[in-house]
């Protein structure tokens, strides 16, 4: 093991299948990944720990993805956000949250697509550090 600290990624999606499938794929890519299906729990975690990249859905019970991101940006401005959402809600998402989102990805997405975007977001986040 080398000493280089791993890039920290948080995934928030209320559909567990998204977390379950993204996590191993990103771990293989050398990231340290935590997953949440509830936004309040994810937010609690962000208060405790710095994440370089956050991947979040928009439509969720309680605090939705946009509200969550607004809080995250207050807590840790250097965190880069990737919004993953269904095709139908994509336009709304883009309109209501232009600033502070690194990229938008429509579900369903391929693993290689998200990996490419995470890599770019990571580079930006590391500059922010």
């Amino acid at each position: 093991m080398n000493g280089e600290p791993k890039t920290q990624i948080l995934i928030l999606d209320d559909e567990p299948i998204v977390c379950r499938r993204l996590r191993p794929s990103l771990e293989k890519g050398g990231y340290e990944v935590e997953t949440f299906i509830r936004s309040d729990e994810a937010l609690e975690r962000v208060r405790q720990k710095h994440f370089d990249v956050i991947i979040t859905d928009i439509k969720m019970e309680g605090l939705d993805g946009l509200g969550f991101l607004a809080e995250v940006k207050k807590l840790s401005p250097g965190t880069e956000a990737i919004v993953i959402t269904g095709f139908a809600t994509m336009e709304t998402a883009k309109r209501s949250f232009q600033e502070g989102v690194f990229d938008f990805v429509a579900k369903p997405f391929s693993l290689s697509e998200i990996q490419g975007i995470v890599k770019k977001a990571e580079q930006k986040a590391l500059q922010n550090r």
């Binding site: 299948i17 890519g29 990231y31 579900k107 391929s110 693993l111």
Partner: protein, 858 residues
Amino acid sequence: MGLLRDIIGMLPRRRKGDWARVPFVVTFGGFKKILETNNQVLELMADMGDKLGGQFIFDRQYIIASCEKAKELVQQIIMEINKLAPKKYLGLYDAFRQIENQIDADLSGQLVIPQTPYVVPSASPIREAVEAVGNKNARLNEVSQVLGLAVPPGFMVTSRAFMDFMEHAGLRMRMQPWLERWRDGNITSQEASQALRPLVMAGELPPGLEKGMRAEAHSLLSHDRQQQKIFAVRSSALGEDGDLSFAGQYQTLLGVEAADLTQAYRTVVASAYSARALEYRRQWKVNEEQMAMAVGCQLMVDAQAAGVLYTLDPQAPEQERMLISAGYGLGEPVVAGQAAADHYRISRQAPYKVFSLDVVRKNQELRVQPEGGTTYQKVASELESAPALNTVQIARLAEMARRIENYFKTPQDIEWALDRQGEFVILQVRPLNLKSQVTQMVCDIAEVLKQRPVIFSGRGAVAQRGIGTGPVYVVKRNQDLDGFPDGAILVTRFTSPRLGKVMRRARGVLTDVGSPTGHLATIAREYRVPTIVNTGVATHLLKPGMEVTIDAEQNVVYQGTVKELCYFQFTEDAFEESQEYRLLRRVLRRIASLNLVDPQDKDFTPRSCRTLHDITRFVHEKAVDELINLDYHHSPGTAARQLKLAIPLGLTVIDIGDGLQAPAGSREITLEQVSSLPSRALLEGMSEPGIWCTNPMSVDFGSFMSSVTRTFANSLTSPKDVGRNLAVVSREYLNLNLRLGYHFNIIDAYISDDVSANYIYFRFLGGVTDLARRNRRAQFLDEVLTQNDFRTEVRGDLVVGRIKKLPAQRMLEKMRLLGRLVSFSRQLDVKMQNDEQISIYLKEFLKINDGHLSAAGA
């Protein structure tokens, strides 16, 4: 529909009152709408199917949205056909509603017990198997039906039988008060069980269940007199060995005689109400209403040896060994831990080296008695201290176990038996939950992977996700497949349906060219074999015998065995076992399966439409019929006429604007009278001498048998087909619908002096022969089209080619080419008996084509 507007604009204006009935342009507009929507539905279905391969992350919302979209499109199609043929096909609405209800029920997540017979044979394909026959039965069914391994002959009593039993015997009602008192804590689980089990044991079975079981048992016993006459009766509850293990909660009965099967059935069902089972369900919050108990009845294998195999030793997973326990005779004493058994620890990799052989003295074996029942017998003294399995047998069993593990993608607990003929039979498989132990073994997967030499990465497309390890086996010609060794990585240049033959024995597949939406991908998904297609380099970089690991997810091929990847996979929940995967598969069966194939079949009716695909298929056929049979006398300019050609094409032509130069009222026209530019060019190409093969092709028997879904009318030269072809033309436009034999060909083209408006759309689907040959023809068409500058898409036997914005002269050349191609390839699928023929016919066609080109140029 900008094009339609153009066509309408091109039509001569008519005086008011001429349109007493529906004007043709409107009819044709509806027809075009049906074709377009039909294509959209097919594309949506293909997209949904691709998601099963695992390269995409999707969620439940995606499944819901896709189903909604599919339903919406199909509803539009039904509306359009009922406009085209007013109220003629209202029955489609009923068919649609039924399918819609089924899809909605699937999506609602409610437990839906499929309408199956009470009793189904073990070795038969079963749809929605988990719900129909319970987890355990379903898994064993996959072992037999997908992996091709031997399982005991037998039958399954379905979940449906259970539901009807509960209803018929009034059990739900009678159990209710007891269950309530138990839930409220007024009685103990023990007391509840004592009340509930006798209810089940005394319950009257629904009519037909007992008879069904007796009939199945009888047919099993009479088929094979060598078989022993006693059964093992096993529980297979919904959810058992699924997310929750329910291990040992329910009862298994061995040595049951045929006459006692119904009582054994009741006993196994009653075991669902043991105190332990009740407690377990309460603890895991399993709703009693969601409980359904299917049962498996297997003829007992008269075993010379039997036992259990763990594909990863649970006591020491870090040693990376399989563990076999084995004894003589029936496996029950070994499984129950009542008899001393041999223990073998072996390598997880072929050739399955034996690390340790702990052989104990085995002086007794449990045997099946010919007259029924079981009894202990003494083991011959020279065998007492010998291993129950020899090393060759161990290796065979290990290979089967790895195949099972690779398919289910988690370590497995496998009950096996070696029958008197020396064949292994798989009695039961269940996942071995070692997630937490394995997680510790993997440590930091990313660090491990960094150290491993990569042969290539990021190339090609993942057709089926997963991890595969093994020696490279390169397949260049069909004959190479015969030597394909179990557990190898198949490396080949082209994807070919032929590969399906060895697929279930392969640990992975890599191809140089090919599409993730092709037929190979479908097979790879069926067998869950990790597959990357279109890598461009696989056959160059990988040499026979080289040990490699493929990660068909991150899209990397490593040199050597990266077993950490395999263990890392064990720490995940297999995608293929997820609810979303199963839901998508399930709704796809209601959407994308095709049952209606033959329009001549008497069952080619709205009532027989069982899937959305059936509906679109039906509507497409009827839409063409409607246009051909329209009564056009109300608008003389658009009369339907028969084209006389040198070839027996049987083409009906409808002119919607200066497409024909024929006297009004004539019913027949000649090629010379066709003034539609694209039509003329195409027809000239089609009827060039020597292209339209006139020899009637005989379809060989194998091909007949493989097209089982087609009820066959001697189609290839059938006069019924003649006259079912339709062209709608104007001077610049052609919409052609051809059905020749069993394939469908649509050509839609607009060719004028306005270069930017010019386009040709070519679409080809189906055929009479087996999928392999149809795919070869598709590859042939793909090659020809690509070489002639068409942009192509191929999905299985569907080929779409597009070309646009070329000057009129060049576009007309392309139409002539298409004409030759349609004539030439008309019966080609029948001739495509092997892959080599693709290039042979390709050469032949290009030679003919060049000949005609130079003749035209001269």
